[in-house]
Symmetry: C2
Subunit: 330 residues, 2 copies
């Protein structure tokens, strides 16, 4: 990050026609974006939503309120523009590109086919994927961001779809942060009571099974193909000096893994929202992150991050378009 | 509010392709807007920002970090599009109309001249305005909303400008809620230490001086011309069944007064943000309000409410544009 641009932004904001500090988060976001973009002339349009999709062998353990076949139906829904993220992305002028990184069902027309394997292994009893597959998934995420950046994307919003992926993300998070299964296991698509305790036991078994500690090895052993791809996407977007708008629990798990691999990534991360999914708070705390919104959302797909984009956009415009006190003759 | 439309909206949302409740606040906002608009086909565009401006005799007591003459300079700034609210309103496609309800300086071209008097009396020692003046200011706020509604406005965003108006709003709030000056006096444009304690003493003196309890009499005695106009705007917007997006401390004071006058107004109020100004939380609690954003802002002008508008817009689009599970063959 460019500390000179950040300092120039602080100076600029100090001259704007308003009491010092009175725009709160809009001011600090502008400073943080200046550091990322290396200029006070901030540009955040167009944003690109990259939805990475994969299936999870651990669904055999009945850890979701939905059948694993829903992943494929939702991919069809994305391509027809009917999912929440489509509607929200349309509001912010973002493209939505869906990458099938590792779904199990028949390929869906209109999705980018980068399928590395048909779903992961059941992490309760076996590795999610091989080392090579994990590396390929990371690369696929990098490539997706390269394409988006070549297409002119100014902000990268990684999203995901994959029935079972809160279980995988919980296992990865618990391992990366040395937390208990209880700390990171949440309702996902809507579990309660016994079902939630069962999911927690599955996460605990998976974490106990794994002896990995290196972040990419943890993803390989306990994660998901879409989680690996999101991690790759974050690494590439940061290398390209792009603002990365991070969604909820799954996306933050991928961002955490990226930061554990490469701590210099952290200043490029902007956290869109506080998810209702239990465990998200622990990840945000570990990343010293203060999310922009807190709307009680827990959908994934990138939806919460997309909701936060207008705040980034406003923060980008304020320093460029507001008058300064000298314009008022003061 | 239309409970039938609200129930229809709950049913519609229950069919959308997402886990129940997973869009959090977007869902409850959609239900609340359906009740206001009497339909599940929500429309929130265009929004109209109405900035009411007035001066305050209490500035003679040195209660602000800025000179009272800044009110007029800011009116010029609004007409040139250089204020924060102009930039933010442009992002949401809102018009900004500035009403000079009671400024003290020379009239500013490009503002609507509905000036009722040249600033208020010094509320520490005298009434802010006469009963007739207060009534005229309430009417001016009503008329401003009528014009906006005739112009097609779907959402009303009342904003304000007036050096000294956090002092007046604090006095009104303390009186309406029977709170101490300390509970509701904040930094305003940026006071600290001795200056803040002095402001608190001024608010305390004003509240002690006043024997009024009726909400319009409290505004007349302790408030401001722009605060009275905002109260009128809220009453008229609710009578027109419009969604009202409430800004920070001053706007919420006016909204509180409106609710005290007419409790049926409450369901039409949507609270845009939690301001950093001390006292705002007490007002929100009294109104049982959960603001959409919390961005550490404390500028006024309607700026925080404008930042929240994209969330309302997204909440309005989701039920109309998302697919339902039967579209997926489920």
């Amino acid at each position: 990050p460019d500390e000179t641009a950040a300092e120039q932004m602080r100076e600029r904001i100090g001259q704007l026609t308003k009491p010092p500090g009175s725009l709160g988060r809009l001011e600090t976001l502008a400073v943080d974006m200046a550091a990322v973009q290396g200029t006070i002339d901030l540009h955040v349009r167009p944003p690109a939503v990259l939805v990475f999709a994969g299936d999870h062998g651990v669904t055999a353990e009945n850890v979701s309120a939905y059948d694993a076949s829903l992943t494929r139906l939702m991919l069809e829904n994305f391509t027809r523009g009917g999912a929440a993220v489509n509607v929200l992305a349309s509001e912010i002028g973002a493209s939505v590109t869906v990458y099938d990184i590792g779904c199990a069902g028949a390929p869906v027309a209109g999705t980018e086919q980068i399928r590395i394997r048909r779903g992961t292994g059941n992490i309760r009893v076996e590795a999610a994927m091989t080392k090579e597959e994990c590396s390929e998934a990371l690369d696929a995420g990098c490539d997706a961001v390269k394409r988006a950046v070549e297409g002119g994307a100014a902000v990268i919003i990684p999203g995901e779809m994959g029935i079972g992926n809160t279980t995988a993300a919980a296992a990865v998070s618990a391992k990366l942060l040395d937390l208990s299964a209880r700390d990171v296991t949440g309702v996902g698509t809507g579990l309660s009571g016994e079902d939630l305790r069962h999911k927690e036991a599955v996460v605990e078994d998976a974490v106990k099974r794994s002896d990995k500690t290196d972040p990419s090895a943890v993803i390989q052993d306990l994660g998901g193909l879409e989680i690996a791809a999101m991690t790759g996407a974050v690494l590439e977007a940061a290398a390209s000096r792009k603002v990365i708008l991070v969604d909820g629990f799954i996306a933050t798990t991928a961002a955490l893994a990226a930061v554990h691999m490469a701590p210099w990534v952290r200043p490029f991360l902007f956290f869109g929202h506080q998810s209702e999914e239990a465990g998200h708070r622990a990840l945000l705390d570990a990343l010293d992150a203060d999310p922009i919104l807190s709307l009680g959302m827990r959908l994934g797909e990138g939806s919460g991050a997309v909701c936060a984009f207008p705040v980034l956009r406003m923060a980008a415009r304020i320093p460029r378009e507001m008058a300064v006190f000298s314009d008022l003759g003061l």
